[in-house]
């Protein structure tokens, strides 16, 4: 396989045409194509690549890759080309106001006949052998139906099963067989068209990746999480106290902070249900993971977050008169001395009034690797950037790792307390963390809320969870875990604590993340360096929402 080049300069162009984010990758491809998530372009001149990106993104935008249509054209190269041509012309017409003027004209000029209204009509027209259609030029690329179907199966495991993808026979359809993709696809697709699921078709589904994707709510996520069990090398003290193991209810002494848990089925809290304890991490070794350096852009973005008003005296302009300064002026004028005319007092937002708790998910699931690196390492880097930037700015910041082993074994591993400096020792503690255990998110959020309320010491408080945001433990799954986590977040916001979830390289089902974190700002980053772009609006929104919620609840109580 050739080396892939991420041509990120094309992503905004692709996004603007497709109407959603779409990656552009350059490689040794014969013709440009897309799998719906990425556009693959061959190495060629910039303007040809640009044209290919626009054409392929246009197809994505108008829904050309309908599953049923893809099943219909798979295996028929001529049919595919005819369909591609009609869809390109349809894209030019549909996206008339968005496409670059020149490329729009080029696409429109491909075919001067009538324009179909939908993919199904394009497919029907392309099957009409008597309809004369020119070949599409190479720069528009091609369509790879099998890849589209495979990608659709990965991204939407709950979508219609493959037996729905029956191929409608066409009376006069061109009958050439495509030799570009897998040679046996026609036979395979015939099998797909069998109305009943057979053992063989199931095998084929798995072969082509059309089954349930890992991380889906069909069991994939559960199994992958179970793989995250184990005795990770957490802090020595933590290990000794907790006795980490695969048992969900590890034999622990229930010492720590007790928190309730929300049982949505009974619509009530289970009082004192979880126990959270804080530990120090193991002694940091010299060969600890290196952490990122100074992130100036992030610091610049965060500098205006969490400020509060401060009195400034002897100002040139201001809200009220500074009486001391005014008296001085009058006295000096009476004495015939040149006087300073700065006699006002004003209040400006210059005081740092923010405490931030960075909670790093150190649970076993983060051992999974994406783009060659463990999710955990990417998330730790994110936590390090955030802690360093906030500490530099003079905000109060504390950083803890967390994991759980049963409801009475929720562990907070101390990296930096609010009053600690983010020095080499703290950085070593952070790099010494390693993933282990499960995610009892509700208890972690409640303890985070408690830490901020009791140790934060500022009027503005922010809880930043760095993790995939997916709650899971053996007795803490599905709707129960999601509802409890959401409830814990609501409790925090009502208490005036802004909550944010940041994940990097996470593969968690976005529907689950939305169910848990939908009420507060959350974002999935592809790299920790992207934090600078989204941190300020997210943090500001979280703080404003929390302040407004607390204020409105306070005013309701007063009434």
């Amino acid at each position: 396989m050739s080396q892939l080049v991420d041509t990120s300069r094309f992503t905004l162009l692709a996004h603007s045409v497709a109407g959603r984010p779409i990656q552009v990758i350059e490689g040794d491809y014969g013709l440009a194509y897309t799998d719906g998530q990425s556009i693959f372009v061959p190495r060629s001149s910039e303007h040809l690549q640009r044209a290919s990106v626009v054409a392929q993104a246009g197809l994505v935008a108008i829904g050309s890759f309908d599953r049923y249509v893809m099943a219909g054209i798979a295996g028929h190269q001529t049919l595919r080309q005819r369909y591609l041509l009609l869809e390109c012309v349809r894209a030019a017409a549909t996206l008339k106001s968005v496409l670059p003027l020149q490329l729009s004209s080029l696409l429109t000029a491909l075919y001067d006949g009538p324009i179909p209204n939908c993919p199904t009509e394009s497919l029907a027209w392309s099957r009409q052998a008597r309809r004369r259609l020119p070949d599409p030029p190479d720069w528009v690329g091609t369509i790879k139906p099998i890849r589209m179907l495979r990608a659709a199966g990965h991204s939407d495991p709950t979508a219609a099963t493959v037996q729905d993808l029956s191929i409608a026979p066409a009376q006069d359809a061109p009958s050439e067989i495509d030799d570009e993709e897998e040679s046996d696809r026609s036979r395979i697709l015939e099998l797909f068209s069998v109305p009943l699921r057979t053992p063989f078709s199931s095998i084929l589904e798995r072969f082509f990746g059309m089954g349930h994707a890992p991380g889906s709510n069909q069991g994939g996520a559960g199994e992958s999480r179970a793989g995250g069990r184990g005795t990770g090398s957490s802090g020595a003290k933590a290990t000794a106290a907790v006795g980490l193991g695969v048992m969900p209810e590890a034999p622990v002494v229930r010492v720590g902070f007790r928190y309730p848990e929300w049982d949505f089925a009974r619509h009530s809290y289970r009082s004192e249900w979880c126990t959270v304890a804080e530990f120090d991490p193991p002694d940091a070794t010299s060969d600890s993971t290196p952490l990122p350096g100074d992130d100036r852009m992030l610091r610049r973005e965060l500098v205006r977050i969490g400020l509060s008003h401060q009195r400034h005296r002897r100002q040139q302009h201001g809200d009220i008169l500074d009486l001391n300064a005014l008296v001085d002026v009058v006295v000096r004028q009476a004495a015939g001395v040149d006087s300073d005319t700065r006699i006002y007092e004003c209040r400006r937002r210059t005081a740092h009034d923010l405490s931030v708790l960075v909670l790093l998910d150190t649970t076993g699931s983060t051992r999974e690797a994406t783009i060659g690196r463990r999710v955990f390492d990417q998330q730790r880097e994110l936590a390090a950037r955030l802690t360093a930037a906030l500490d530099d700015l003079g905000d109060r910041v504390a950083t803890f790792g967390f994991f759980s082993q049963g409801r009475n074994g929720v562990r907070f591993v101390r990296v930096k307390e609010f009053d600690d400096r983010y020095d080499v020792a703290a950085q070593r503690r952070l790099s010494a963390l390693s993933p282990t255990g499960f995610t009892r998110l509700g208890a972690a959020i409640r303890h985070g809320t408690h830490i901020l309320n009791t140790r934060g010491g500022t009027s503005q408080k922010l809880l930043v969870l760095v993790g995939d945001g997916f709650p899971y433990e053996n007795d803490y799954t599905g709707g129960y875990a999601e509802q409890d986590s959401r409830k814990a977040l609501n409790e925090a916001v009502v208490r005036g604590i802004g909550c944010v979830c940041l994940s990097v390289g996470s593969t968690t089902d976005s529907a689950v993340v939305e169910r848990v974190w939908g009420g507060v700002p959350h974002r999935r980053l592809s790299d920790s360096s992207e934090l600078a772009r989204s941190a300020r609006p997210m943090f500001r929104l979280a703080l404003r929402t929390a302040a407004a919620t607390k204020r409105s609840i306070g005013s309701e109580k007063n009434h």
């Binding site: 990120s8 300069r9 094309f10 992503t11 905004l12 162009l13 996004h15 603007s16 045409v17 109407g19 984010p21 910039e46 640009r50 626009v54 106001s97 968005v98 496409l99 670059p100 003027l101 020149q102 490329l103 729009s104 852009m297 201001g318 809200d319 009220i320 008169l321 005014l326 002026v329 009058v330 004028q333 005319t341 006699i343 004003c346 209040r347 400006r348 937002r349 992207e530 600078a532 772009r533 989204s534 929104l541 404003r544 929402t545 407004a548 919620t549 204020r551 409105s552």
Partner: protein, 278 residues
């Protein structure tokens, strides 16, 4: 863009005097709605994204109604004194100087509080008594003087719901006193007309500029501060009219204000290249 408007903000404490009518191209019924509210003295709240024409609409209404316009750009350090007025030092004593709101109330002009959500609530709460049936301004620093609004006084506020997404920041008691007029970026044909009127640019350049803006407006959640507004579009078109190449004008006037991020700038540069007319 502002060739129709001559401003003397330094001498007039924010008031704009016009020698010519500002250009405003109505998109819907916003002008009729605004004028109806103005005839009955109902405060107006203009909602819409940055650079869609909120301020221009107010200027247009003020100019056609021949009333003075006092514009206040709200910010988080703005205080009630900045609106109402304050004592300033003159010689050996202090003298009261009206703020823009007080002047508008006395003279029967329009007081336009731009991006009102940016201001603190204790600053904007002074408008309450002006915005309901009382139509009077209480000036505490003048011993609680109650100043009734002169005929023709109108309070107009604007804010950008997308940018300031926590609506609760504008108190509901303030919102309830307003007539809301919602604006958005004009449709392509209207935007084309505006571009021609403001910059003189037409044809393929104007068409490409409009398409470029539409393309950027489709890119959400990519880390851009805002989207390409009609204002930035006009700025780019004016640069083109001044002889700058399309790509450079668009980079400076559209991409530059949107982001400082190198990767995003590179993406916008490619987008602009794709839209550059041949």
């Amino acid at each position: 863009m502002t060739e129709h408007v001559i401003t003397h903000t330094a001498e007039t404490n924010g008031q704009r005097n016009r020698t010519q009518l500002p250009f405003y191209r109505p998109v819907g019924n916003e002008v009729d709605l605004f004028r109806a509210a103005m005839r009955r003295g109902l405060p107006v709240m203009l909602k819409g994204p940055t650079g869609c024409g909120k301020t221009r609409l107010v200027e247009y209404i003020a100019a056609t109604a021949h009333v003075p316009l006092y514009t206040v750009s709200c910010h988080e350090d703005m205080t009630a004194s900045d609106l109402v007025g304050r004592y300033v030092l003159t010689g050996g004593s202090t003298e009261w100087v009206d703020g823009p709101l007080t002047r508008a109330v006395r003279e029967g002009g329009i007081c336009y509080l731009d991006e009102i959500v940016e201001a603190r609530q204790d600053a904007t709460v002074v408008i309450h008594s002006l915005a309901d049936h009382r139509r009077e301004l209480n000036i505490e620093r003048l011993g609680g003087e109650r100043l009734p609004a002169a005929s023709g006084f109108l309070l107009v506020v604007s804010y950008n719901p997308g940018y300031q997404s926590v609506l609760k920041d504008l108190k509901s008691s303030t919102r309830q006193r307003m007539v809301a007029i919602e604006l958005d970026f004009p449709p392509p044909d209207v935007e084309r007309e505006i571009l021609r009127e403001e910059s003189g640019v037409e044809g393929a350049v104007a068409e490409s500029m409009i398409r470029l803006a539409a393309a950027i407006r489709r890119i959400d959640d990519a880390g851009l501060r805002e989207v390409a507004s009609t204002r930035t579009l006009i700025a780019a078109a004016v640069l083109v009219a001044e002889g700058m190449p399309f790509g450079e004008a668009a980079m400076s006037a559209i991409a530059g204000p949107l982001t400082d991020d190198i990767q995003l700038r590179s993406g916008l540069s490619t987008l602009i290249d794709a839209h550059t007319p041949g």
